[in-house]
Assembly symmetry: D2
């Protein structure tokens, strides 16, 4: 669960792969790693009988550079038709955070990064409002004010993609960004953009979910972190959680309680993603916590 790099000199890698299920996969992969003198320190797997897909996440300590190790993995990956990634354990992911006016998620992400508890490197904050520029400045992160004007959304999104490209962004986090992304942008960011939804999906889609929740008299308030897809609010769920409310909770109370849940759920989802613990399995996720 730790995000710390190993103390000793041997490099540690995380290998994540997905392929059609079948016999011999683990043996083949562990063979390559054993052959290179590697020591597997973590291993989790899941074969989904529904999709027929097999998912594996390994951490391995081995005295090789990343490229050399990748060259050893490649033939096995090809043989089994694997989609795979190989990364250095604990390497921070270059991350862009999109915000509007609400500060709670951004504050939480930046504080966790600085505390060494979130393996991300926030290389920029983009707001459609300028309100959170001072908070970004406090943490020494460049802030870009990118208003989304009526009829000029395509322009703003192009700007956003340019920025992501210039800064080699690997992950985009929508931290209460109150804009609907175009289908094109969703596709461009597929699998590398995480949104926090201010509700326990699939309930209460649409506007003012806490007003809806209050009106319905629910006893729990939830939040959902999910990958962004063109189909709004239907992206693969990474994490969900709830907190208790009661009849005396006003809509305003629910907003406050919801903010706590949102920040915590988003932080967990971002950490698991950055540690390569989240794999796509159709429209569901496999989360190797």
């Amino acid at each position: 669960m730790t995000t710390a790099p190993p103390d000793d000199a041997v490099p540690a890698y995380v290998l994540v792969l997905t392929c059609p299920d079948g016999p011999g996969i683990v043996h083949a992969v562990s063979g390559v790693l054993a052959g290179a003198g590697g020591n597997i320190t973590e291993s989790q797997q899941y074969g989904d009988p529904g999709t027929g897909r097999f998912h594996l996440r390994l951490q391995v300590e081995v005295a090789l550079g990343r490229e050399a190790l990748a060259a050893l993995v490649e033939p096995v990956a090809d043989r089994f038709g694997m989609t795979w990634t190989l990364d250095v354990v604990g390497r921070p992911l270059r991350t862009l955070v999109l915000v509007s006016r609400a500060a709670h998620c951004l504050n939480d992400l930046l504080f966790r990064q600085r505390s060494g508890r979130l393996p991300v490197d926030v290389v920029g904050v983009v707001g459609n409002h300028p309100d959170l520029a001072p908070m970004a400045a406090t943490y020494g992160v460049p802030f870009t004010h990118l208003p989304v004007e009526r009829g000029r959304k395509a322009e703003a999104e192009a700007h956003l993609l340019d920025l992501a490209r210039e800064r080699d962004v690997e992950l985009v986090v929508l931290a209460r960004y109150m804009q609907v992304l175009s289908d094109d942008l969703c596709r461009a960011l597929a699998g590398r953009a995480i949104n926090i939804h201010h509700s326990f999906l699939p309930s209460f889609k649409g506007a003012r979910p806490y007003a809806q929740a209050h009106d319905r008299g629910v006893k729990l308030i939830g939040a959902t972190a999910h990958y962004v897809t063109a189909d709004l609010d239907e992206g693969p769920i990474i994490e969900q959680d709830v907190q208790r409310v009661d009849h005396a909770s006003t809509e305003r109370d629910m907003v406050g309680i919801g903010q706590d849940v949102e920040a915590q759920v988003l932080a967990r989802a971002v950490r698991w993603h950055a540690e390569h613990r989240v794999l796509l399995d159709g429209h569901r996720t496999v989360v190797f916590r």
Copy 2:
């Protein structure tokens, strides 16, 4: 929170009332009780700014019979236009439990009653299937097999109402009863029938909610206890809870986990109702836990 009767000789009553909000209500009610030498041992109130309704629940120890105390309360109740009930603390509610084949909720309710942890007196179990007759017999509760045949639902429901009348039933619990009640029956049982919904409402209405939940890849499984209304699944929510699942949880696992949540949520809702802790406030509930 205890359901035990007081040890000493002074009778204890629970007074529950709802009326239009305004000044002087608590003072007037406490005046009547103080005048009778009563000692208020619990008091909870809630004024809903949305509906303009005021709700109060009091427990009072006073050396009077129930009728005598009610006669003192009545003039105040009339003055403020109160809907109210007065009951002996800990008196078990005469309860009818409706079941189909699933045993987990019935087992939980009967075991809690016998353990002295649920102030109900289950005076009958009615099943549209005969499967749970032996379990009812184990607890010495009469079981009625009341199949609901196609086209003869009205007949079955009339039979049910007769049974409820004969046995002076005060509360009907639908403990995974897999039949939709007619609008007429819902109205006849309004405010005194509790259903356990196998989902975290408002999500996943309709058939096979766990299959829906599994397909959607949710990370939490929930259940909802609510009053029965003609508008299916939209009755006032009394209690909700969730448990965590993950990608490896099969639909079958989710059913099992869901059964635990269902039994616990239903038991809490029934206990709070039987202790007169649940008040209706429009289509929401006030729960004085």
Copy 3:
């Protein structure tokens, strides 16, 4: 649950009192308030059969100044031997926060205050190390570096008390302040100093609780907020919570998870205290949430 002041012009007050239990208390208090044209909007009470003490918390809207209202309450308070306080609803408590090097609790408290979700006014941060001065500065709060040198603790504590007096401090929060207070200071701050203990008391007192927890192989990590008393770690508990860990959690992971719990538990305890929801009942607390 909300901390917001009422929208309209009528002032709202919170009245909190404790006295020997007996009949007529609620009626007498509500009589005074009703006589002044007040409208009771919240009321919670608890009579402890163990200590024989009665506790009451009321919120009331009434067209009077605080002094005028207090003058009305006083005779009743005297009659029943009450300890009582009367405050304006939502008035922020003047608060001093003591810290060492760990930032998570301070960050959480300052962010919540600024978000309008914690009714405190942090008038100063005191650190025995200078590390958190920049964070205090970000929020515009004066920071005092007050090192506690060996053999000169009395001097440092005298300085601390002076500071508290100068700034009219009403509440002292030990936000992971790694110093043991002297018995004299504990007594001077009795009932108005809250500590967050990095453990689920009464477990794992003493040094390095997470190392102890890891060694014992526990499955839950907890934190406890309590009032400071001379008897270390034995002060009245205000709030506790836990989070799940497992065999793979390192001591470092447990520290991180513990920080989340600590920040949340402390924030709840401070909010409840500042809203006058916490009453002392012997060495236990009554918390009117």
Copy 4:
């Protein structure tokens, strides 16, 4: 997570092993299984840097009998100095349940077994009081009344061990059995006896923990399932959980709430043990959930 046997004809096995950590273990084990045409459907591992021990749990589908598969595993196990077990997935463990008077844990275990949600076969219930004989009878389980008389404990324990031997008992569950076992019996049952402790260990050891908890004013009530060892209350922890209480909770309320937690925690621990998910790692446990 499911306890169901596989639908198809290929047998499924669970292999659990512990050995000194080092490179090549996973590869060697997976090699044997791949060589036999096996398909690994679940795999979890943990290497403890503290103890230097490596733990592995595999589920594998393979067209071999148990003995034939064990013969293939043996040479690898010898090479790495493994402690290991191989079992058929879902095979119910022959279980003896020890009880006194409290029924909640026994009721829960028997109901879950009958519902197909706990892979145990309760072959007997032993009570030092006769109170729970009717409940055992309801589930068709033989009940033995084995009073433990002063000065004749050794005799009673010998009787207990005989019974366990006669019925080929694999697991002993102390379901609120209010007797302290002798050191000899603890050693005889080492690693195959689970106790539910009516507290959140390490807090509140000793008598009347709920009275202690109530007196201390705790806000959470917990329970701990652990393996039985001679060192009372210090056995390796398998599972823990808590539920919220407040100032108004009486000792009696806490007992009731505690019973819910105890039953749930014990059921989880028994299920994980019976599914071979719990491994000993020094005086801690590894739980592959």
